[in-house]
Amino acid sequence: MAGASLMDTLFQRSLEDLIKGMRQQLIGEPAFISKAMEEIRREIKSTDLSTKSTALLKLSYLSSLHFHDMSFADFHALEVLSSPRFAHKMIAYHAISLSFHDATPVLLLITNHLRKDLTSTNEYEVSLSLQCLSKIANVDLARDLTPEIFTLLSTSKVCVRKKAIGVVLRVFWKYPDAVRVCFKRLVENLENSDPQMVSAVVGVFCELASKDPRSYLPLAPEFYRILVDSRNNWVLIKVLKIFARLAPLEPRLAEKVVEPICDHMRRTVAKSLLFECVRTIVNSLSEYESAVKLAVVKIQEFLLDDDPNLKYLGLRALSTVAEKHLWAVLENKEIVIKSLSDVDPNIKVESLRLVMKMVSESNVAEISRVLLNYALKSGPEFCNKILASILSTCSRNVYEIIVDFDWYASLLGEMSRIPHCQKGEEIENQLIDIGMRVKDVRPKLAHVCRGLLIDPALLGNQFLHRILSAAAWVSGEYVEFSRNPFELVEALLQPRTILLLPAIRAIYIQSAFKVLTFCLHTYLLQNKGTTFSSWSDTLLPGVLSSDFYESLADLSVGNGPSVTVTPGHVSPSSLERNDLSYEYIVNMLNLVELAFGPLSGSNDVEIQDRAQNVLGFIDLIREKVLNSSVQKGNVSEGKDVEVADIVELMHHAFSEELGPVSISAQERVPLPDGLILKENLVDLEAICGDIGLPSSNSFPFESTSYKEEVGNSLSNLEIKEGLEQLNESTSLLAEHRKRHGLYYLPSDKSETISNDYPLANDPMSQDNATDDTNDLLKLAEQSFVPRRKSSHTKPRPVVVKLDNGDEIPIASRKSEPKDDSLSDAVRDVLLGSEAIIRTSSQSNLSDKPPNKRKGKEKQHRDIHEELKENLVDDRNPSSRRSRHRRHGKERRQRSPRKKNAEEGGDNGQKEKQKSSHPHGRHRQRADEPSNVAGQTSEVPDFLL
């Protein structure tokens, strides 16, 4: 064995050899690494610590840069750790901090090693173990080593002490009770004269305060002193971060810190500190007008800087300011607009966000125009970002900012035609949504959708298919606004619809059906008054129909893109609405029949089913229509009435108006007797299999939207797999049904429909406008000036909103219990309920004499009080008594706020208060004189 180990030692590859070998790549990297791993596995079992440690070092290398598993060496790392040599220890600690995690089994064995090194006289060994502990500490390690950390927090060796401070953070997270032991010493270090030490402590408090700022309010005086006195930028940045979190909790604190922060902002040359000041002001102190003004000036400097970093951060800061001070953005709008064409995509996105913040109902049209022009000339990614932000901004709060819906409908149409547009789903939803919500927009909407439908080129872009399906639905649903139904039917049945997914084709078919029914109905209606024969004897249906068949046959052979051909003898474009001739109807019937003939044999059930329905309907109608005309007036009135009845029936079925569905619609339906809602539905799982059940969320839309989702994902899949793919998905049926009204409740609002609604200015004509940045800027200049509402010539149409809004209820979040226990501990220590400290220290730290520590606490508290006194004095030199009075007043102010916080549903807050009961009781008895002495130290903010 000794021999083998000697050979290993002498001929072992060092780390350098390994790296060199890897770089030479003689046998390829994977092969080389697996060979090296083999060696390492052998070498690491060696009894010689040098060999072992070299193997461990090599393994660390492979693990950290090539992500090889090194957990097999966990125990060997511990063995190397026990070596007396520093070099070995270093390697072992490095390996351990690299590979150990909370679930590592040998973690239990490391405690004593760490303890030994933490108490070592060699400061470098102590540093190493602290470094390692900061990475691997779990609950047990944190608990067991708290005493050692506590000692190190006041060691005279600077480099060790600041590492100990750094470790405290991890120890506190893992083991909150350590706060009761170490917190005072940590706070003491805030007063250290060494800026490094202060920097380390402030760093720890910055992290702690980010989780639960309220607990650290009592330390505000210390932080304030650092803010005013320190000239170290690293420290100042951290202190500013702390104040950014404390200031919103305590208005008087905000008032006190705002001046010093402004001082720093005026004085400093360091951009990082300047930026931190700006951010603190805009985030937490935005109600101080003068400070915000100063911050905006600094932001402006950032925006004008050549450094893209500063520009980006300036935009970021600006978007934070925008929440409360929109003027700041408007002041800088030129730079913001210019940034839209920056080379950096990050800057572009930020400026887009800012532009959207400036949108209001008076300028939404102009801004959208500017942005759409930008979208046209930018790449696909940014183009879609622009479209997404326009869509979401305009639809916010049920189209709150839209006044002119005609304009918006045409904007949606225009968006669909942008070549990079991939927002099909969103546009689809909005087309249907505004159609259902806003009655006045329907004529324009039908017009826009017709434009989309008759353009065969759009069918080629699969991202637009969703939009087309919406357009088809709108055209069918609001066919009464169409000027030329025949054209619609042609568009809906054009051969290139074969490119569509079956689900969307089904919608096309259904829409064609609706249009057909509408035409028949109108036709019958207009002839009701006249005699039956008067229309029938003008026709020669036999000739007509055969002619027509021929012309149509020609049409259907030519499968080219230009399918919108009007048959010779009937020119539908010349037809006025309400003036439908017999030929017109027959042509339409023939066209539909011809187009649906092949579809009745389609592989897709949806298509087949619908096509069959329509064909059946036509059979029923046509035979009678033709017969009656051939017999020239011999037809009995009865038959005609029968046809009229059928058409009437269908028309009624389709003319029922669809409206948006309230989220609470389901709740309003009374529960039928004998329906057990709480029944266990486990059995369903077996039936549904991998489809899964909708979650138990009580949101009634859930089931339908869920189905739709399934449908969507399926359709996405199919796009990839090819268009001719078979599709037997039942979820598509569900989607379709939803579309066709089975799930909708009728809207009982009745508004008058005005057909002669003024048209919005045609957006397409403006498209040719030069998109030079300067021109856009000019345009923007006008548009971003907030205008009076009076400029609108017509009132905003009624937008159907449902009583309790369309918002999705958000489940309340629960705070983490661990954080609670940590902040409990901090509060207990800071607010001085000694009983708790004593009991906990007895259980955890029995080896420490409690008296000694208590003395320290007292001493500390004296310093604390002194400080508070100083701070109060410089504002208001008053006696102790007056301070108490202020304190009492303050409490009265505080309590309603607390109540609010609780009402806001903050569960954590309640729990905290409950668990820190002793302290709460103290507060209630505050007016009792016997308690006054104790009170002074535990009240967080009377010193301000």
Binding site: A2, Y61, N346
Partner: protein
């Protein structure tokens, strides 16, 4: 706090990784793949910040190496850029005009220096001099240990064990 530190070469080779938040080996590899895809493709005159999974990644290129640090949303990006620069300066001082090869062959040294600079994802030492002094002291401790280990008598003692 800093969640992790990465050094990636322009070719996408990883030169150093240091994780202050828990990530499994699998996640680590994934993070690096994702980030090097984002960062290496960015042009030279763009800003040094990238939004990533709700965090911010601050990166800076020095010669052929990208130094990346991942931080929380409300951390100060400019401060992190200064820390990166600080680290580079210390490396430069230690290796004497540092190059990528130095870091390749002394990868553990780069770690030890980083450990003196940061602890638990926080800056612990902002003085270059102090870091240099601490590293030098550690080096001398290692050297004495190595000399002992490599002495002939030690090897003989091993062999005759």
């Amino acid at each position: 706090m800093i969640h992790f530190v990465l050094l990636i070469s322009r070719q996408g080779k990883v030169r150093l990784t240091k994780w202050y938040s828990p990530y499994s080996q699998k996640e680590r590899a994934k993070v690096i793949r994702e980030l090097s895809g984002v960062i290496l493709t960015r042009g030279p005159k763009l800003c040094n910040f990238v939004d990533w999974r709700g965090f911010k990644v601050v990166y800076k290129r020095y010669a052929s190496l990208y130094f990346c640090m991942c931080i929380d949303q409300d951390d100060n990006e400019l401060e992190i850029l200064e820390i990166i620069h600080h680290y580079v300066e210390i490396l430069d001082r230690y290796f004497g005009s540092v190059c990528e090869l130095d870091l390749i062959f002394n990868f553990h040294k780069a770690y030890y220096i980083l450990d003196e600079l940061l602890i638990a994802g926080e800056l612990q030492e902002s003085s270059k001099k102090t870091v240099a002094r601490l590293i030098a002291a550690q080096d001398s401790l290692v050297e004495t240990a190595k000399e002992q280990a490599n002495s002939i008598s030690n090897i003989i003692a091993q062999a005759t064990k």
